[in-house]
């Protein structure tokens, strides 16, 4: 498992869809803006399926990102399909549906971006064993999905005082083929005298 840093967002780090690899981005806020930029860039190449577990899909940001690359913004936004999950049960059911669809589809599968996968799994109101069981099911679907097209998952670090979150995160880190640890992207600081 190699950890790579990247400096500026581009799709070059995405795996070859034919490789069958599962890629994860591990970053604060699950690399929110990076993932949205990636979704925008992917839409230039073809359909994108976004599964949002962290209420992250700020469509205004995506629209602006798309607009920077093309005038044909509406068409690109139409190519991005979005479904949101607000509980880990819903995340599991979204991924099950996506995997089923990938198997049935005759055309090439869209790129799949899973935003903040673990956000719903970090919820203490569901027992840890249950969350682990659901996460294992999700991993089965990831295996299917990565066999059909690009798959990128974003993850957020566990909180310090939450060993349950760390267990789930470790589980995912062991599962994926490659991890990109995002540098924190901040606007370049402008030196000021005062």
């Amino acid at each position: 498992m190699n950890i790579i840093s990247y400096a500026s967002p581009s799709t070059t780090f995405l795996p070859d869809p034919a490789s069958g690899k599962t890629l994860a981005v591990l970053a604060p806020h699950a690399g929110r803006n990076l993932m949205l930029e990636t979704a925008a860039r992917c839409s230039l190449n073809g359909p994108v399926h976004v599964l949002d577990g962290g209420n992250h899909f700020n469509a205004y940001l995506v629209a602006r990102a798309v607009r920077r690359h093309t005038e044909n913004m509406d068409a690109m936004l139409q190519r991005i399909n979005l479904a949101r999950a607000f509980t880990c049960y819903q995340m599991e059911s979204l991924l099950a549906a996506a995997a089923l669809l990938a198997r049935q589809r005759s055309t090439p599968s869209p790129a799949t971006l899973v935003l903040d996968l673990l956000a719903t799994f970090y919820d203490e109101n569901v027992q840890l064993a249950e969350r682990q069981r659901l996460l294992r099911l999700c991993q089965r679907y990831f295996k299917v999905l990565s066999g059909y097209g690009t798959l990128l998952i974003s993850l957020r670090p566990a909180q310090h005082d939450r060993p349950d979150q760390q267990m789930l995160l470790d589980d995912m880190l062991a599962f994926v083929d490659d991890i990109w640890q995002a540098e924190i992207l901040t606007a370049p600081a402008i030196p000021r005298l005062f």
Partner: protein, 97 residues
């Protein structure tokens, strides 16, 4: 389930913030005029939300224009009233013609 899309007000404030550097470099009186423009756009946030544009800043610009035009109409009316008040009243003869 929380909303995913920022509210139109958040989006508006974000756009305004994006021009903070522009504003800082303006002269004070220009800053105040710029603030007026943004305040004008803010009057129409509900309509901008309903419009559901992917790039709402275009709608904000139109809202600024809209308020400018309203102001223009108002001033035109004031000017016309003033002209009417200062122009000599027609005599009875002229009216009857």
């Amino acid at each position: 389930m929380g909303r995913t899309l920022p509210s139109i007000t958040q989006e508006f404030l974000g756009e305004q913030e994006a021009f903070a550097r522009f504003r800082r470099a303006l002269r004070r009186k220009d800053q105040l005029a710029l603030d007026d423009l943004f305040a004008a756009a803010q009057q129409h946030l509900a309509a901008a939300a309903y419009a559901s544009h992917a790039l709402p800043f275009e709608t904000f610009l139109l809202a600024m224009l809209l308020e400018e035009h309203k102001e223009l109409l108002r001033l035109r009316q004031v000017v016309e009233e003033m002209q009417f008040a200062t122009s000599p009243l027609p005599t009875a003869e002229e009216t009857l013609k």
